[in-house]
């Protein structure tokens, strides 16, 4: 068995909307092991984005335990969370979220800058990451000069560059056509085969079918959690 990377025990995330309490996540108990390749599914409002934000350390739970590599993230302050995001987590977003003014290389280098990696090593690692997603010849291009699929690959390269424990992808194919979506999913498949841990959010069944584990959420609770 691979070691446990993420463990959630009785995890809740509540929002106060006026005098009402919205239970975005309600008593979640779940584990992810190294080299998991999982899809989180569910209708909108089911809490999958909230779960994603908590796994990604962008948000902290209202109650319960969230352990990442054995460290309880709920106890961390803003800057500690930032460092965990930098080292342990690679984000891939639906809207790509590259910085438009910077070229691909600079975008991919950004996490390494915050990690304090020296310039030469930074360039080398960013180039390697871009090469591994098949964009070795586009490193000087700006995002606006690339297609949607290419932009998402740059984003994946950025997520990979700091060798994180988990890659988190929030609807990574949501803005792409079917053929490109399948390209991107094949890329995730390849990364999974190379030993990466990948968790992605999607509401498309055919995208979820690329993964090895499907977790379905409804009303902030886990409805089903199946390996395939």
């Amino acid at each position: 068995m691979e070691p446990v990377i993420i463990s959630m025990v009785s995890l809740c995330r509540h929002y106060e909307m006026g005098d009402q309490i919205v239970k975005a996540l309600d008593n979640i108990n779940m584990e992810f092991r190294r080299n998991d390749y999982a899809a989180i599914m569910g209708p909108s409002g089911s809490g999958k984005s909230t779960l994603m934000n908590i796994i990604g350390c962008l948000d902290t739970p209202t109650s319960g335990i969230y352990e990442l590599n054995g460290t309880n993230v709920a106890e961390m302050d803003d800057d500690e969370l930032a460092r965990v995001r930098n080292r342990e987590i690679g984000f891939v977003f639906q809207t790509f979220n590259l910085l438009p003014r910077m070229n691909c290389l600079r975008n991919v280098e950004l996490p390494l800058i915050y990690a304090g990696v020296a310039p030469e090593e930074r360039h080398e690692r960013a180039e390697q990451a871009l090469l591994s997603v098949g964009l070795g010849d586009r490193i000087q291009h700006k995002p606006s000069e690339l297609s949607g699929g290419q932009i998402q690959r740059v984003a994946i390269a950025r997520a990979l560059v700091n060798k994180p424990s988990i890659i988190l992808a929030d609807e990574p194919t949501g803005n792409l056509d079917t053929a490109t979506s399948h390209d991107i999913m094949e890329m995730f498949g390849k990364l999974s085969n190379e030993g990466n841990t990948i968790i992605l959010i999607t509401h498309e069944e055919d995208i979820a079918r690329f993964t090895h584990r499907i977790i379905r959420l409804r009303d902030g609770r886990i409805e089903s959690d199946e390996r395939q």
Binding site: D79, V84, R101, L110, G116
Partner: protein, 429 residues
């Protein structure tokens, strides 16, 4: 595990601080470059504030450098008694206060001289009228010649030396002779190419004067020539030009040691001359080289205070401009901040990036203001024939003030940016 992770992170942070600082600086520059026009407009705001203080201070420093020599217009150990002080501050009211004083008449001068004669080396009388035109044959000067009614003591008391011919004599004064002694510059203008001016008849304001002598050149003070003048007997001046003029009395003490004492004696003699009672204050002014320099210092202080207040206001406004533009920038770049935070930017790094942008704006404004200010100040200095000046103190002060302004007004926007919740910041608008 938790402890280890934190420890490792802290080590990494300190090792790589320098790399981060450089990167943050480059990122700040590139962000400013995106909104080029906006950045320049903000920079100009600061530049104007710094410009005004630097220009004024450069000019004042330049004038200051020449003030010691320029204002030492009176001869050694000499002071002057006159109706008005060297400079009058304030509006009509304070002007009127002096204007209402009784004129110092020639008669009073003579009376004063009788009392003081044995207590001073020289006592002379002067009346000055600026802006006269002198003519000789078909040559005429600009109407900028100073005509002075004086006596035989005028030249020594004011540091003029006879180059050729002779000075005014006591009999010239006694008989109100129509003769004149010319300043070096005026002599050159009326008698170019080495023509001998002595005994020639020149005309000033319709009156004819025979040239008795020519002074050595004394040089300029404040870019104004002291050699573009002619001196005629004061009695002639009073008889033929303006009998109601208030005269100035110049007194030369016997020595530097007796200077103070002589001033005190002259003050007493003048009070006696004017018939002042013990309760009345002096209705005349004692003007010394020191008092001239003092009054220049007063002007300097007023101008620099004014410039300082104006600059301070301008810089405050510019600071508000910086804050405004940085707040706009934070709002516009919420998404960027969210992205940076999601990939691990710590608060400090975001804060420093925005703070540095504000600092760059204000310091660039500062440098432009300093360069333009030194330029403008030195143009003024050049026009007054003064040496070039590099006001190091004010440059340092300006850079410091700009840094403070950039930091102070950049702090709130930077703090706001650093505190953004990454989930909120990333949410599509």
């Amino acid at each position: 595990m938790h402890q280890n992770l934190i420890l490792q992170i802290h080590c990494d942070m300190s090792n790589h601080r320098t790399i981060q600082t450089k990167e943050v600086f480059l990122q700040a520059l590139s962000s400013l470059a995106v909104n080029r026009l906006r950045s320049w407009l903000t920079i100009m705001g600061v530049a104007v504030g710094v410009f005004s203080i630097i220009a004024v201070m450069t000019a004042l420093d330049a004038i200051d450098k020449s003030v010691e020599s320029g204002l030492t217009s009176l001869g050694a150990n000499t002071f002057q008694i006159q109706k008005y002080p060297a400079t009058v501050f304030g509006g009509g009211h304070s002007r009127n206060r002096y204007a209402n004083r009784e004129d110092i008449t020639y008669k009073q001068g003579v009376f004063f001289r009788k009392i003081m004669e044995s207590k001073a080396r020289n006592i002379g009388f002067i009346i000055t009228s600026p802006a006269n035109q002198a003519k000789y044959g078909n040559r005429s000067t600009n109407p900028d010649v100073t005509m002075t009614g004086g006596d035989e003591n005028f030249a020594p008391a004011n540091g003029y030396i006879i180059r050729s011919g002779r000075n005014l004599s006591s009999s010239d004064i006694q008989y109100a002779q129509n003769i004149a002694v010319l300043g070096g510059e005026l002599a050159e203008k009326l008698f170019p190419a080495g023509e001998n001016p002595l005994n020639k008849a020149i005309r000033v304001n319709g009156q004819v004067y025979k040239v008795a002598g020519v002074f050595e050149k004394k040089g300029a003070a404040f870019g104004q020539s002291q050699d573009n003048l002619l001196v005629i007997p004061i009695t002639r001046y009073l008889d033929h030009i303006n009998e109601k003029s208030s005269i100035s009395i110049t007194v030369e003490a016997f020595s530097q040691d007796e200077y103070r004492k002589t001033i005190d004696q002259a003050t007493g003699a003048m009070r006696q001359t004017r018939g002042l009672t013990i309760k009345e204050t002096n209705d005349f002014e004692i003007r010394t080289n020191d008092s001239l320099i003092d009054s220049f210092r007063d002007i300097q202080r007023i101008i620099s205070t004014g410039a300082f207040i104006i600059s301070f206001m301008a810089l405050l406004t510019a600071g508000v401009g910086i804050m405004n533009i940085m707040l706009v920038s934070v709002t516009e770049r919420t998404k960027e901040i969210g992205i940076r935070k999601s990939i691990g930017a710590p608060r400090k790094s975001i804060r420093n990036q925005f703070l540095l942008e504000a600092l760059i704006l204000s310091l660039m404004g500062g440098f432009i203001g300093i360069i333009a200010g030194i330029g403008a100040g030195n143009i003024i200095a050049l026009n007054l024939n003064l040496p070039l000046i590099f006001p190091l103190l004010w440059i340092t002060v300006s850079i410091m003030v700009c840094s403070i302004i950039g930091m102070a007004f950049g702090m709130f926007p930077a703090w706001k940016a650093a505190g953004l919740d990454p989930v909120e910041a990333l949410r599509p608008k």
